[in-house]
Amino acid sequence: MSLSEVKQGTAGQETLPSLSIDLWHHRHVLDLDDFTREEIDLVFEIADGMVEVLSRDVKKLPTLRGKTIATMFFEPSTRTRASFELAAKYLGADTVGLDAVRSSVAKGESLIDSLRTLQALEVDAIIIRHPCSGAPYIAAEHLETSIINAGDGCHAHPSQGLLDMYTLRRKLGDLKGCRIVIVGDIMHSRVARSNIWGTRGLGIKLVLCAPPALMPHGMAAMLEKCGLQHVSIEPDINNALQDADVVMPLRLQKERQQSGLIASIREYIRLYQVNNERLKRAQPGVIVMHPGPINEGIEVSRDVAYSSYSVIEQQVTNGVAVRMALLYLIAGGKSR
């Protein structure tokens, strides 16, 4: 259901726009830590409008006609990049995509130089994905152009955090008292971090469950330092999943075994896999989410991934709508 339907309690009754666009003050979308609850609701309200557009045969709007959105991906990605590019195209913008390889060994052109080239081409927004945490912040500090973070290192993935919450909101309505459990490699997960910030102020209880070597040592201190009281850490997966309303298994990358952070994939599956047996402890209507791509049979069993619990496909559709909303807010309006 849409945001206004949630607020009204009834579908179909005519309402004036419930949120003022003056709420929006961001030049960039770097992470959800500096988004207020109202700003997130605003994104969702606009995304509702976009969802309708996505249901049409002709998915084309003139809204961002004449604008150019650049994607600069320093890390391979098919789904997030496709999602952003489609979002831009559906809004009528032109897109230009650049691939750049980034390794600490092959330094090549500096990040700032690469981005300055795009600025000189007068693009209206740059969507960046980069393997180093903080890279979009350097971009935002040194460029005039708006920056949207499509994932930086292990730090943040704000559009994913937004689409996860949006999917839950559409599915469940009011999220107060909802118990959401994220299971897996929290250490390396920018999705988990963005969800930590994105779930504030909604009455949600967020539980983080990870094998010991995959939970940052400083996480508990960070939660306390940043006043994130709605988040707790639970190392035992059975306790974590007890009465869960939503479960989000995180992708386990094979490199983690190679770097010795887990003993073996087999042991990980035995101790942390989200499968039907474990989900018996959760609420009967439990929802399973996943940022994708899924390692079937590893962090989540095949039958759960494709079951009726799963909202993974909705996350993908909603992802485009949420990204359209972000592009509208960032790139709509006069160029600075």
Binding site: I138, H155, R193, P216, H217
Partner: protein
């Protein structure tokens, strides 16, 4: 030898080697301290009115990086020495992680000759490598390097991971009577780490370097020092646990020494995530706060200060590590580690440790302490006893100033104190009786 005669009047003299601390006159002639007393006079002397200023022996820095040969875009012996001199340092020990590394007599010789001709205003003492090319595989020919003039051995920048090799190095150095300066880091534990393994690392999504990486290496070194009888010096101590290990080893009577940097005494891990001039802006990933060992916690700072106050830590060393702008203006994970320290060391210590460490202690840690570590006290370093070389610094503890990149003499502007207001600055520096830096010309006659 200098022919000039200088008379410093009414200076508040602090000389820990002599337990001397009052307002007095100092007469310098022929490059040495001629006389210290009240109401001195000399018709031929240049007079420096030091009323309101502190005077103490010229600072000795046990640990700095001059980058020459090989990295002259970051710093040269000349530019580093100029910054050191204005920072109050008259003797500096430069580390051998140059290119080529200082692992042979010729390289040591090169540094000494270059320093003599291009940086006559300070005493540059080279530190030789422990292993060839600092590769950690084969020990250098220590006696050859000692003969060429190196004052200690270190692979700094890197630890010596092989315990067998370190043990061998310690035995050889002990035989020569020179200290081994170790950069204590367990590379397996610190691998991939960018900053302290605490809440900031979790927040910023980067791998952290746990305190254990330093502590396990310190513990190993102490055991080896006990085994070999070497003079072990642990440089840039940064954790509470390391201080405790050193304290316990000292209590057992081991000839162990240690130093700490000004930044580890005054900044925590939080400096990475926020810059003073960055209020309200998105998160800062400030590469100027990226250093190895990393900035840690308030608890560690507390332990380090206690360590200085109770003598566990003997010296303050800058670990002056200048970098070119492009080495820092990039992603945090790619940025070079290191803080450029000569220009700010004194100001930072006086401003942030006021009330926590007595001025006398600070001076001792910059003068007699390092002299003792190097074993050069006998030759008159770190002291103002009569007849010792006139290496002296005059300090205005009240002068307020702002740290600005353009005003720094080091080529490296990479300091987390940029934009910081500091109180306390060098007024003048004397080296071998010559006035090599005069920041207060109005106080000097003729």
């Amino acid at each position: 030898m200098s022919a000039s005669v200088i008379l410093i009047k009414n200076v508040h003299l602090i000389d820990p080697s002599q337990s001397f601390s009052k307002a007095i006159d100092v007469l310098i002639s022929g490059g040495i301290i001629k006389k210290i007393g009240k109401d001195l006079s000399d018709a031929s002397a240049r007079i420096i009115d030091a009323d309101g200023l502190i005077g103490c022996p010229g600072f000795i820095d046990l640990h700095c990086h001059l980058r020459q040969p090989g990295f002259e875009h970051k710093e040269t012996i000349a530019s580093g020495s100029a910054a050191a001199c204005r920072g109050g340092f008259t003797t500096i020990c430069c580390m051998p992680n140059t290119n080529p590394a200082l692992d042979n007599a010729g390289a040591i010789d090169y540094v000494m000759k270059t320093a003599a001709s291009e940086a006559p205003q300070v005493n540059v003492l080279p530190v030789g490598c422990i292993t060839k090319a600092r590769a950690g595989k084969e020990i250098v020919e220590m006696s050859e390097l000692a003969g060429a003039g190196c004052v200690a051995f270190s692979d700094d920048g890197s630890p010596v991971s092989s315990s067998r090799l370190m043990s061998l190095a310690m035995e050889n150095a002990a035989g020569l009577g020179l200290p081994i300066i170790d950069h204590c880091e367990d590379l397996d534990l610190s691998e991939g780490g960018q900053l302290h393994d605490g809440w900031v690392a979790a927040r910023l999504g980067m791998k952290g370097i746990p305190s254990a990486a330093e502590e396990s290496a310190v513990a190993r070194d102490i055991a080896l020092a006990e085994l070999t009888g070497a003079r072990l010096h642990i440089t840039h101590v940064s954790t509470r646990g390391a201080v405790e290990l050193i304290r316990n080893a000292r209590l057992k009577g081991l000839p162990l020494t240690a130093d700490v940097t000004p930044h580890h005494l005054t900044l925590t891990e939080e400096r990475v995530i926020s810059r003073p001039d960055h209020a309200g802006a998105p998160l800062a990933y400030d590469t100027n706060a990226k250093v190895n060992p990393p900035l840690r916690t308030a608890s560690d700072i507390e332990a380090l200060i206690l360590g200085l106050n109770d003598g566990t830590i003997d010296a303050i060393a800058t670990d002056h590590a200048p970098h070119a702008d492009e080495d820092k203006l990039c992603e945090f994970e790619i940025a070079a580690s290191g803080i450029s320290g000569f220009d700010t060391a004194l100001g930072v210590l006086l401003t942030f440790l006021d009330g926590k460490i007595a001025l006398d202690t600070l001076v001792a840690c910059l003068t007699s302490g390092p002299a003792r570590v190097l074993g050069i006290g006998a030759s008159g370093a770190g002291t103002l006893k009569t007849s010792s070389p006139a290496d002296m610094v005059l300090i205005d503890t009240k002068k307020v100033w702002m740290v600005e990149a353009d005003a720094m003499l080091s080529k490296g502007k990479n300091t987390p104190y940029l934009g910081q207001q500091l109180k306390g600055m060098v007024a003048a520096t004397l080296h071998r009786g010559e006035l090599v830096y005069a920041g207060v010309p109005e106080r000097i006659s003729r």
